[in-house]
């Protein structure tokens, strides 16, 4: 399951570079002159108030919306191109017909294997799916109906599906919404574990600042444009940020990070 990639957490490489990015939906300017970068192989969080354009920003990065400006993807060799990397995506809410007859295994197969599910699912794919579901600690749902899952279980199945894409960049839209504290903590820890193993770049939207402080190593604060960007310890405690967003962030305990990067650049 592992890819041979550069895995340090120094942020010297950039996975996504945004320069003067503007997005207009209809006549409404949602994002204006956004300039930011997402470091390679790390966890970056996008924070901001409701209606700040967080989801719009991720959808633009995923290639769903037209934009003006520069949107480039970097690789390990520090060269940039507009070629889209392999994305894994976990949407905020999966609005689907809950009564549809579809098992979790079939759902996982739907995006990944060609052989139609009415001809049965191969044993090798079943093994692969079990492996991923086990790693998100949700193996027991493999033969359940997708519509019968709880919010937390569905979230994990979606995470497993995104991981099965073997993504270079994984994008999560509020992974913690609708999941209890324990589920949220588990989700973040799992992602951290996978990131170390597989070396993908993680980009997530979050409302939960204590979670951001604990798990993210880079934060982008937006509200139509970028207000602050950088290390969570600096960004989340700045007075200007509190004034802009009206956040109560005094109580957040920032964990100390393990030793710096040892690789040579």
């Amino acid at each position: 399951m592992s890819h041979n990639v550069h895995q340090c957490c120094c942020g010297a490489h950039t996975a996504i570079r945004l320069e003067n990015l503007s997005v207009k939906l209809g006549s409404v300017q949602i994002l204006e002159g956004v300039t930011a970068s997402v470091p390679y192989g790390m966890c970056t969080a996008i924070v901001g108030p409701n209606g700040a354009g967080k989801t719009t920003l991720t959808r633009t990065i995923l290639g769903e919306l037209p934009y003006k400006g520069v949107l480039e993807f970097g690789d390990r060799e520090r060269s940039f191109s507009s070629r889209r990397p392999r994305f894994g995506y976990v949407p905020q809410k999966l609005n689907f017909d809950r009564d549809i007859p579809l098992t979790v295994l079939e759902f996982l197969a739907s995006g990944l294997v060609r052989r139609p599910v009415f001809f049965g699912i191969s044993r090798s794919f079943r093994m692969k799916a079990s492996e991923y579901l086990e790693s998100v600690e949700c193996l027991k749902v493999i033969d359940r109906r997708l519509g019968a899952l709880s919010g937390g279980e569905l979230q994990r199945v979606l995470l497993a599906q995104a991981l099965m894409q073997e993504p270079e960049i994984i994008v999560l839209d509020e992974p913690a919404a609708g999941v209890d504290f324990k589920g949220e903590q588990l989700c973040c820890e799992l992602l951290e574990k996978f990131r170390r193993e597989l070396g993908f770049t993680q980009l997530m939207i979050s409302h939960d600042l204590s979670m951001v402080a604990a798990h993210a190593s880079h934060v982008i604060c937006i509200n139509k444009k970028v207000y602050a960007e950088g290390d969570p310890a600096e960004v989340l405690t700045s007075d200007a940020l509190q004034a802009t967003f009206g956040l109560h962030v005094n109580g957040i305990v920032l964990p100390s990070r393990e030793g710096g990067c040892t690789c040579k650049h």
Binding site: D97, E106, S110, G111, V113, P116, V117, R145, Q165
Partner: protein, 288 residues
Amino acid sequence: MQTLMDLLCSWVSLLPFDCLQLRFMQEAFLCILLCAPLAAAAGTQVVNFRMSFFSDAIGHSAFAGVAIGLIIGVSPDWTLPVLALGIGLGIMALKKCSSLSSDTVIGVFFSCVVAFGLALASRIPSMVKDTQVFLYGDILTVSNREILTLFVLSVVFYGFEIFSYNRLIAIGIHEQLARTHRIRVTWYQYIHVGLLTLVVVFCVKAVGVLLVTALLIVPAAAARNLSRSSGGMFWFSVLTGLISGVAGLLISAQDWAGTAAGATIVLCACLIFVISLGTGLFKRKRKI
């Protein structure tokens, strides 16, 4: 072609039913063997992705297709599928680029096409007879060429289903998710809608405009009641379609029944649906 049909018909005549000794019944039987499972297979997606109104609209475009054919002097065998394809793809395109909801878009196309067909039909006196055929269907007068067309369409449609059944599920669950996971959503959607349109059009001959949607959705709805997996639903649906098609055709030919074939087929499918409804409820209760 003719010898092949003769061979197939002689096989059908081996079945132990008196009514199947007649040539036109043998041809109708072959037609329903192709048509009913095809419609039922297409129906699984129509039911799961809520497209029954769409297939209804396509079915109703038959009037306009026939009327245009009569006016410009081209056989309706050509104008009907071409117009239906235009409408099917047009609905898809408008749905993609406008902010209107899909049932509104379909509703607008639906009324346009029906009004157009009726307006044309009212100008042509000879149209009344043709209209009847399309309203109620006439499987007993199916021609060899129509059977061949259905066969080719079946091969193409099943081929497409095998190639893209999984992808269509992914798109049906969440379009954006499918797109970011590198599925060419638009491509699949247009091809699917195009083929679905052709299936509907060629099934109009069997059961008529009024009942064509039933041929698609009733078997699939029954299958949905009975199955919990998507693969299971597909086979249940095809089986239900096949059973109701054959049973409906044979019953309609009995002396004591003497009913229209199309209507009898749909009634058989509805009966299976009612049974499946009961079974489904019973299953659900037991689970709780």
